[in-house]
């Protein structure tokens, strides 16, 4: 069985460059990021300070106590270290709380930035690119990719930086006491830091990227298994399909095992490195004490500072072993952004506002990508005069919707030209074209928002209408589609929430809301793809009659199986069986 094709990164070997654009988005908040990292660092500093000072204090008091017991006069200021210890204890708690709160705020701000940025990028994609990306699979993928980037700062950026600074800071303190101690610490912990960040990232690169792919494939397989259950069970093929599903799962578990083991190895290395360094520094410090180079309290406090580094490094291996997945997510999102740099036409609309345009299909052929040998349209010539109403008829799959999509530029013809108002649609600025176009697509797309919001979307962008005029326009449009009575009965009227993808409405109602939205656009060129589909006969009659009046003076292309499924038209044109 061939695996479903996934959009993959075009440059798998691009290393960490893929993260570049996202780091730039984050850099817009660099002050916040710096403060967040400083808070992390101060939390660590307080923790290290608490242990270190306590170790110094205990050793110092023990020595003083022994001296006193031996009858030697000795004094020790106990109040300064005592208050220092209290300060560090309270400071560590406060700093940690502030750090968590502040950094979560930052992460949520970044989430808004990243979503806004991605959405703006997607919105710039030409309609024809977007049409290829409508699949549910792609949407899931997009969400997962964005989620992967949400945590970039808190998991992969700040912690390694803070860990590195803490290593350097402790090494500095050690070096102040005795330079060679600092150097030994750096010699052990800097390579360790490299291994648990970059090393882990390398070790996890392939399996973590593959894990995401396999998880996605498992999702596809699971959906197949459930949606095809009737067929699979009836044909006794359930076992075979389950076999492929379990193979996919096994692959996923294998990669997860690989990643988990590598991360476990990484944390074991952290323990070995940090505790080993602590023990090593202890031995060196004790030797130095014997040699008279260090005082006893300092000799016993230094290893404690090293041990306290564990906290800052322990989480790094598990985070970095998954870096490959994050990088791949970024690369995929970048690829989409790269698609949006397509040249678009710039010409203004050549007619007066409200003047109905002529539409000409001149020897148009259309081949969908990947299906070059079977054109959806071949050498088609068709002319819609200004102000004319033309019905385009044909069986499903004959290319009706393709005609509408060519005018709206969801696709461009492979050969020939589509002209609107005498200009090739490719030369018109997309904004100018869309402002003059009312297009009821074959699929009904309503948004999870109020009825009013869904309708207002249809209003011309620069409508300049007051609230009252808008209200009137909405009701007028609802009247045309015969939903005004229904809307008035709703307890919340136009503020009624329309469910996910408009699901709380019946298919026919959703269709009519979409039609009302097109009516509100008040465009001189109207494309209606199966406008009355899904309506019962009586309603279809009423809507057809009211549409008839509204369509007067506009250029209209209507698409359906049969002519009697459409409002009145001047002329009908049929796809021949050959098309």
């Amino acid at each position: 069985m061939t695996e479903p094709r996934m959009p993959t990164s075009r440059s798998p070997g691009a290393g960490l460059k893929a993260l570049g654009p996202w780091l730039r988005v984050m850099a817009q908040r660099r002050t916040r990021l710096a403060i967040g990292a400083l808070l992390m660092l101060s939390t660590m500093a307080f923790a290290i300070g608490l242990l270190t000072l306590s170790g110094w204090f205990i050793t110092a008091t023990a020595l003083t106590g022994m001296a006193l017991a031996a009858g030697v006069a000795a004094t020790l200021d106990v109040f300064t270290p005592g208050s220092g210890i209290r300060l560090f204890a309270v400071g560590r708690t406060a700093s940690r709380y502030a750090e968590r709160l502040y950094n979560h705020d930052t992460v949520l701000r970044l989430l808004a930035d990243i979503r806004g940025w991605t959405f703006a990028g997607l919105a710039r994609l030409p309609g024809r690119e977007l049409a290829r990306y409508r699949a549910g699979e792609w949407l899931n993928r997009l969400t997962a990719d964005i989620d992967a980037l949400d945590n970039l700062y808190l998991r992969l950026l700040a912690p390694p930086l803070v860990g590195l600074l803490a290593i350097l800071g402790v090494a500095g303190v050690l070096a102040l006491a005795l330079p060679r101690l600092g150097i030994v610490l750096l010699a052990v912990l800097l390579p360790l830091w490299g291994v648990i960040t970059l090393g882990m990232a390398l070790a996890g690169r392939r399996p973590s990227a593959r894990r995401i792919e396999t998880l996605e494939r498992l999702r596809v397989r699971a959906l197949e298994h459930l949606q095809g259950l009737a067929e699979l069970r009836a044909f006794a093929a359930l076992g075979a399909h389950r076999g492929t599903l379990e193979t996919t799962q096994r692959r996923l578990l294998d990669d997860q095992r690989r990643l988990g083991r590598r991360a476990a190895l990484g944390s074991a290395l952290v323990t070995l490195g940090v505790q080993g360094a602590g023990v090593g520094i202890l031995c060196l410090a004790l030797l130095a004490f014997t040699a008279g180079e260090l005082s006893a309290p300092v000799a016993s406090m230094l290893p404690l500072a090293v041990l306290a580094l564990n906290e800052g490094l322990a989480m790094l291996p598990a985070a970095f072993v998954q870096l490959g997945a994050t990088r791949q997510a970024a690369a995929r999102l970048n690829d989409q952004a790269a698609l949006s740099s397509v040249e678009e036409g710039t010409h203004a609309w050549p007619l007066a506002p409200g003047e109905a345009p002529e539409v000409v299909f001149d020897d148009v052929s259309l081949r969908y990508p990947g299906m070059e040998s079977t054109p959806a349209l071949a050498h088609l010539d068709l002319r819609l005069a200004a102000g004319e109403r033309l019905a385009v008829l044909g069986p499903s799959g004959s290319g009706k919707s393709s005609l509408a999509q060519l005018v709206a530029r969801a696709f461009d013809p492979s050969d020939g030209h589509v002209r609107v108002a005498g200009r090739d649609v490719r030369d018109l600025a997309p904004v100018a074209l869309r402002a003059r176009l009312g297009y009821l697509t074959q699929h009904t797309e309503l948004f999870h928002a109020s009825l009013a919001d869904n309708l207002r979307l249809g209003l011309p962008v620069d409508h300049g209408l007051g609230e009252e005029a808008i209200e009137r326009a909405l009701w007028q449009a609802l009247w045309i589609v015969d939903l005004d009575g229904w809307a008035r009965e709703l307890p919340q009227g136009l503020e009624t929430w329309v469910g996910e993808a408009g699901r709380q409405l019946s298919g026919g109602q959703a269709r009519r809301v979409a039609l009302a939205r097109v009516i509100l656009r008040d465009a001189p060129l109207v494309l209606l793809d199966e406008p009355l589909a899904g309506l019962d006969e009586a309603t279809a009659g009423i809507v057809a009659e009211r549409l008839d009046t509204w369509l007067d003076g506009r250029s209209v292309l209507m698409f359906a199986h049969r002519r009697d499924a459409l409002p009145r038209c001047d002329r009908a044109w049929s796809f021949t069986a050959a098309a």
Partner: protein, 571 residues
Amino acid sequence: MSASRSTSSSSASPARASRRWLAEQARDVRGWLTLAVAAGLAVGVLTLVQLGLMAWLISAVVARDATLTSLWPYAAGLGGTVLLRALAQWAQETCGLEAGLRVKARVRGQLLDHLAALGPVRLAERHSASSAGQLVDQVEALEGYVARYLPQATLAVVVPLLFLGVAFWLDWLAASFLLLAAPLIPLFMALVGMGAQRLNEQQFQAMTRLAGHFLDRVRGLTTLQLFGRTPQATDEVVAVADDYRRRSMKTLRVAFLSSAVLEFFASVSIAVIAIYIGFGLLGYIQFGPAEQLTLFSGLFLLFMAPDFFQPLRLLAQHYHDRASALGAAEGLRDLLAQSPPRGAVESLTGDASPRARLSDVVVSHPGRGRVLGPLDMTIADGEVIALVGPSGAGKSTLLQLLAGFIDAEAGQVALREPTRLAWLDQRPFLMQGTLADNLRLVAPEASDAQLREALAAARLDTLLATLPEGLDTPLGERGLGLSGGQASRLALARVFLSDAPLVLLDEPTASLDPDSERLVIEGLATLVAQGRTLVIATHHPAVMRMADRVLGFDAGRLTPRATHATPEVPS
């Protein structure tokens, strides 16, 4: 385990049931979990040994003027302890991981069995994407709970007790500072738990809404573009995310307090112990064990204090694993609690027996009452039966009953052996993959030649001839879009691929254009010519004409209609 029981919330009993269910799933991997706990315990013991040796070395060199060179075996032992500790830690994580992975595989298997047993009719009550989500994401959510939380929940009790024991042996007063914090530990965990749970529930809801909004707008991007509304929609996406931030920060301010409390106790205990030991060593404290304090016991106690709280802090870190596993478990339990149909289809043997027989069969749907029956029906071998009637009359129910997808409330369904059947759905299922994949879905062993033959029988050979990639042409969202008629004929090709004697067809010509209708009906005629038994739910006059018997429904009972009755207008 006290730590996990202390979360009191309004939904205590479903949470308890979910915990029980999770514990049951983990039973199979008890071995791995025990190993993980044992390794974690070893980490605790080795940590104690390491810290004790470090304190002892310092005290020997500093207070007793020994030289490190003379103590080298102890220093070497210290190094060995660190190495063993790292090893034990690796073992703990690896064993936990293995347990988590195995539980996932097990639960997924169980779910697949159950979903298959529920059958397509019962499954249709659920959104298939959400069931698939349960199979994938909710099962994934169990890993962290089994791999990390479960071992840590035991270790968070045992390891601090171990440390406490050693601390008592060293100095009971210092130990009691740790112990003072101990009764507060269940309280911490309740606080942490409540915080985490509330955080998780609210965050999850808000996050779902946020993700839903974003997805909704992306899904409708084409429409937004058509209406020139993308700039406003972009602003809206940012505004909704920002609103989410402001609301969740309110929750977080409280939720983070619980972990701050844990942090506070850990910090203050270290400070109090350090100051107590310091003053004790100076001889300022004249009662209790303070006078027996030495540099060794003092340093050892200090070294121990942070590690006493470490298992609890780790548990708090893994708390979100628990919350998401509990959430997932609730959904999974609901699904597994649904009782599947028995699918009790009996077999008839002998060449003379009919292809299928229904005796006194009654079918009821919850909420709709009796849908079918009582009815008796005998389907002869090679017979073609058309079931007609308005939607909801019981046509599909009868087909589902024959296929064993639903149970009869009373009566008996029997099929002649072999009981294999072929099924053609009103909306045939197309998978992502090639044309060949879609056919092999029901006949994994079929050769390319057999696929071509089946496509030809289903009148799809002309389409196949136009495809440059032939059988390897991808179908579905990213490939060739089949029209409704082509999809029906593809489903018909699946029927041709199987040699099942009984073929059940649910409105094979619904919503097709006349050309496609004709081709599908030609295909059906070929099936009849092969001598197969066909039961077809249909509105189509041409299909009815093909049938040996046309049966209508009258209040759930079958009534014969004339085979060449006045054709109904197809709806």
